[in-house]
Symmetry: C2
Subunit: 157 residues, 2 copies
């Protein structure tokens, strides 16, 4: 399997927002993220997946210290764009694997997800790039998740 994955990172200072039922038309994502940007709110993971009936959900994470500020901005934007709702979960953490060779190694994601499944950790969101796979999980599962991933990829403690 080699050294495809070189490290595991985690971040517990994470709050997950989901804007539900946003119209899937040009300009919507811009309205949401430029409003947060104008307020100097750092957004970390952004995930928008499949849509149904011309609406979709947009999920993203901010630091826990930015929850209140974000919520005020998002409530206003939601009215403007006609979204159906806002969810916020504070008990989440982000767990990631990093490695330069992941893009060309099929199966790395499956192994990470398998390590989490073995210890009963549910994956609440996934976001990837060529060198990093991140999962959002429940915050109290962080240590268990990191340990399971370390073991799967044979990384030192």
């Amino acid at each position: 399997k080699g050294t495809v994955v070189t490290g595991v990172t985690y971040d517990k200072n994470v709050a997950k927002f989901a804007i539900l039922g946003v119209p899937d038309t040009p300009g919507i994502a811009h309205k949401i993220f430029s409003a947060l940007g104008d307020a100097r709110i750092n957004v970390d993971v952004i995930v928008q997946g499949a849509k149904s009936n011309e609406v979709t959900d947009i999920l993203f994470t901010v630091a826990q210290t930015d929850i209140k500020k974000s919520r005020t901005i998002l409530e206003k934007i939601c009215l403007e764009i006609g979204a159906t709702g806002i969810l916020c979960e504070e008990d989440v953490a982000k767990v990631s694997i990093v490695g330069a060779g992941m893009a060309s190694n099929p199966g790395v994601a499956g192994r990470m997800f398998g390590a989490l499944a073995k210890v009963g950790v549910n994956i609440e969101a996934v976001s990837t790039s060529e060198i990093k796979i991140s999962c959002l999980i429940k915050q109290d599962s962080t240590e268990k998740a990191v340990k399971a991933i370390h073991e799967e990829f044979g990384l030192g403690k």
Copy 2:
């Protein structure tokens, strides 16, 4: 605004699969991606976002050359996990911005999305990491999208 974004990349050899209505329980993501990994199918972007009523959708991209092989594997897995359906779109492209300083610069995502909105390009999916933001768009919008993003971030042609 500085040199936060250092480049724009695109890939037209992209097919988007969405597995709809998967149970949101540990082990499901592992089943899907280890099956694709065992078949040596390279998965690029993986996006799983908000869920509703204990089911969620998982979206991911493979090379267009892997569509047929992926579809056969996914049909079998969908039956096993009780998913409600599989969507496949071949007319998509991935457009990304990269830059080491993005994580600490609020508003970069909003600007990218704004550049796409200005030229009427709809964002079909989003996936991010600290140094990269990727959007899936319609393949025939690729040139227009890349040009609009270049202009927004003042990158040379």
